[in-house]
Amino acid sequence: MRRIAVIVAVVVLAVTAACGEGEDDDGVRDVTIGLLPASVTAAIHVGIDQGFFEEEGLDLSVETGQGGAALLPAVSSGQMEFASSTPVSLLLARDRGLDVRVIAPWTGDGTAAEGTVASANVVLAADPAIRGAADLDGRTVAINALTSVGDLTIREAVRQAGGDPDGVTFVEMGFADMPAALAQGNVDGVWTAEPFISSLIAEGHHAVEGTNNSDAVPQMPTQLIFTSGGLIESDPELVAAMTRALEKTLAYVGEHPDDVRAHVPTVLSELDPDIVARLDLDVYDTEVPRDPLVRVGELLELEGWIENPADIDGLLP
């Protein structure tokens, strides 16, 4: 009986410790941000190193366990306070009634100046007959998630090039599985990102013209930092402090790309140091651009993925 009491006490303590969100004795707030398990996340560690979060009274922990749409439920249920996601996921979520709101920009379109290609994402193909977006009509393209940025922008690219977007078959697979699927001929094109773009081009694959993100939506942000409407209402000071710290971080990393590169192994400890050295770094935005989001909203409506006109005003700060 006593043993049970001890076990119960330990469990209760562990649970309360795990939920140890809130204020420490010295007034520092513990907050969590969920970011992609990718090189982009290096920037947040630069911000932590520079003390931008400490200055605002925030003790920030970074979660990179999962990415993409999985982070939206975590934020809206309060398991974490902040996270990053794509404009497509955020607008879809708002359309279904999930109150998520953007508090700061994160990554923008394009890669650093010496980049191999002009955009954060592009379709790469092996078959020389696939030159432009219209040639994807009747072909199979691998993307990392269906009903997301990949199929939205590729369908638009094919449409703009005069092809039939319904002629493209999309299959979902992880970025890491795409090079093998392309080599085996299981798919005709892969919609991929760094560091895979550099290595696939080095192997002799080519970028399909007109399939950069920026061809469908110029200046489209790739990731935005968001929180739940509930937190903005219940604790506006915390959100404001976080926004200031993020803005300082974004301004700093834009000027200090070497610091970001130095922190890539903090996020991806397994990555080959040679690849870290020549990786094209992401571009960080310093403000949330409105026009590209309006364009994304128009495309979502055109595809019928959302029922009402996109709620841009509700999403933006």
Partner: protein, 254 residues
């Protein structure tokens, strides 16, 4: 009367749970926990229209193909291994190795040689289902009564008759046990295989609903998967009662 009572007993807990779910979730405003009434209302429009042909049927066909192949391969290899002590000694370490590899980690490798179509998904189902069938069948073949073997020899049963009446029949209680375990593994792997490089299927559609925040539809997919599992288990029980009628009769008399 007895049948009625056992049916009522079996149905009591599910009915209680569903009622509790219905009452607790009634009027729920939570985005991720919609009322059960909303989920049930989504079942028909979500799955009985276009998706029945586009997602449900392909899934079930892959499930049936993978399960049938696993049964055939597992029973044949299991009988061979069960009958030969030497073969068993050779195979045992390899079998233990193979069956402890979870099929989901093999999917990227299976994709390399089987592509990304239905073939890959069927192989994933087979690669997980074959082991319980194989190992149980081997055990069953070993456990066939010595007296029965000798009798079959004395009566000079032809190989075909020996296979059918002695081996298959004798090992069938074990085979059925393995097949039952394999059935639930098959349903799990059907869903998992559709999470890689898929463009249709029940598991695929359910994940897509989750991604696009269509939460009642997502729950309806989960509910449908559960209902398919229960239906298949009931069908399995019916087949088992027929196939093993002799065995249950034998047990009652012993």
């Amino acid at each position: 009367m007895r049948l009625l009572r056992s049916t009522l007993t079996a149905a009591a807990l599910p009915v209680a749970l569903v009622t509790a779910w219905w009452l607790i979730s009634r009027g729920s405003q939570s985005f991720f926990w919609p009322p059960l009434s909303d989920i049930v209302a989504e079942l028909r429009p979500t799955w009985l229209g276009e998706r029945l042909r586009a997602d449900v049927v392909p899934s079930l066909l892959r499930l049936a193909t993978g399960y049938a192949l696993a049964l055939a391969a597992g029973i044949l290899a299991g009988l061979a291994i069960g009958l030969s002590a030497r073969l068993r000694q050779y195979c045992e370490p390899v079998l233990e190795f193979c069956r402890s590899i979870p099929p989901p980690v093999l999917i990227p490798i299976i994709m390399l040689f089987a592509g990304i179509g239905d073939q890959m998904k069927v192989i994933v189902i087979v690669s997980g289902c074959v082991w319980p069938v194989l190992l149980n069948t081997a055990e069953g073949a070993r456990a066939i009564d010595e007296v029965l073997r000798d009798t079959a020899r004395v009566y000079r049963l032809r190989p075909a008759a020996r296979f059918r009446h002695l081996l298959l029949r004798g090992a069938s209680p074990h085979i059925v046990t393995g097949a039952r375990q394999a059935l639930s593994i098959a349903i799990i792997l059907m869903v998992i295989s559709e999470m890689f490089a898929a463009s249709n299927g029940l598991g695929f559609a359910t994940v897509q609903f989750q991604r696009s925040f269509a939460i009642p539809q997502m729950w309806s997919g989960i509910l449908l998967l559960g209902v398919i599992g229960v239906t298949l288990a009931l069908a399995f029980k019916l087949v088992e009662n027929r196939v093993l009628a002799w065995y249950f009769g034998l047990r009652r008399h012993q």
